[in-house]
C-alpha cells in the first residue's frame, strides 16, 4: 500500500484542522509531513491519529513535523515539563552550564525565540538563559 494511502486519515485530519503551509511528500520510502498548527491541541490530535495508524510509531516510514504557530506578540510561556523543574542554561544546548531553574507550571518571560529549539527566557527572579522550547507553551 502506498504511504499516502496508509496515512490518508492523518493528511485528511491535517487538512481539516487547517494546518498552515502543509507539505506532504514521499522520498525514499518515507513520508514527510510538515506544517504549522494553530495550537498545541491540534498538533496533539494529529499525533493521536498517527498513533492509531502506526501504534507506538514502530514503522519508521513517517516523519511528522508539525510545529505550533506562535504569535510574534506573545511574551510569556508556561513550563510544561511532566513534573520536574526546567533547566535554564547559559547557551542553547544541554552541554551548556545550568544557570537557573523554572518550576513546573511557572509562567516565564520570553526574551528571544530566534532559535527554534532553544528559547531565551527570563524568570520572575530575573534569571536569564536558554530553555528547551519543547517544554515551553506560549501563552496567548
Amino acid at each position: 500500500m502506498a504511504l499516502s494511502d496508509k496515512y490518508k486519515a492523518l493528511t485528511d485530519a491535517a487538512t481539516a484542522a487547517g494546518i498552515a503551509d502543509l507539505a506532504v511528500r514521499e522520498q525514499d520510502g518515507i513520508l514527510y509531513i510538515d506544517g504549522t498548527a494553530a495550537d498545541g491541541a491540534t498538533k496533539d490530535h494529529l499525533w493521536e491519529v498517527y498513533n492509531q495508524i502506526d501504534p507506538n510509531f514502530t514503522s519508521g516510514d513517517l516523519v511528522l513535523n508539525v510545529n505550533v504557530a506562535i504569535d510574534a506578540a506573545v511574551t510569556h510561556a508556561k513550563v510544561i515539563t511532566e513534573s520536574s523543574n526546567l533547566n535554564i542554561r547559559k547557551g542553547p544546548g544541554t552541554d551548556q552550564p545550568i544557570v537557573g531553574k523554572a518550576a513546573h507550571g511557572e509562567v516565564i518571560t520570553l526574551v528571544n525565540r530566534s532559535n527554534d529549539l532553544w528559547w531565551l527566557v527570563r524568570t520572575n527572579d530575573g534569571e536569564e538563559g536558554y530553555c528547551y522550547a519543547q517544554y515551553l507553551e506560549a501563552q496567548a
Binding site: D44, W47, N51, F57, T58, D61, N65, N67
Partner: protein, 154 residues
C-alpha cells in the same frame, strides 16, 4: 459594363481582403493548439485567445503566450495559465547538528538510547507509553531522515 466589372472586382477584392485579414477562430484555435505544449487548452473567440491549464513554471507560461500572440489573426491573448506550486523540498539535518539536537531531546529520557547515522535516529531501550509520544514529537522536529523506533514500550 466597365463600371459593373470594376465594382464586381472591387467587391471580390474587398471580400478577399477581409477574409485574408480574418482567419476564422476555429483555424486560429487549431493552429495555436498544435504548437502549444500538452496540458494547455486554447480557446478563440473573435480573434481573442484564452489560454487555460496548468504548467510547470513561469517560463512555460510566458512561452505559451508568445506562441499565441505570434499567430496571424490574433488580436489579444488572455493568459489564464496557472503555475504548479513547487513541492517544498524535504530538509534533512546534517548528522553533526542532528547528533547534538538528539542528545538534547533525549536527555530527559534516561532509559532511551539514541544513535544517529546518515540522518537516521535509531532508538533502543525502553520507554513508558505516556512518554513515547512526547519523545517522538521532540525528535520529529529535528529534521531526521527517519526515526527507527526499536524501543520497548512499557
Amino acid at each position: 459594363m466597365k463600371t459593373t466589372k470594376l465594382l464586381m472586382s472591387m467587391v471580390i477584392a474587398t471580400t478577399l481582403f477581409f477574409v485574408g485579414c480574418k482567419p476564422n477562430d476555429a483555424a486560429i484555435q487549431a493552429a495555436i493548439q498544435a504548437k502549444e505544449a500538452a496540458g494547455i487548452t486554447v480557446a478563440v473567440a473573435k480573434g481573442e485567445v484564452t489560454l487555460t491549464g496548468e504548467v510547470d513554471d513561469e517560463a512555460t507560461k510566458a512561452k505559451a503566450e508568445e506562441i499565441a500572440k505570434a499567430e496571424k489573426g490574433v488580436k489579444a491573448v488572455i493568459n489564464n495559465l496557472t503555475v504548479k506550486p513547487a513541492d517544498v523540498p524535504v530538509i534533512i539535518a546534517e548528522d553533526s547538528t542532528l547528533i547534538k539536537n538528539v542528545a538534547d531531546a533525549t536527555k530527559d529520557f534516561p532509559t532511551v538510547k539514541a544513535e544517529v547515522k546518515d540522518g537516521v535516529i535509531l532508538l533502543t531501550g525502553e520507554i513508558k507509553k505516556a512518554s513515547l509520544i512526547t519523545l517522538m514529537q521532540h525528535l520529529s522536529a529535528l529534521k531526521p531522515k527517519k526515526i527507527d523506533n526499536k524501543l520497548t514500550v512499557k
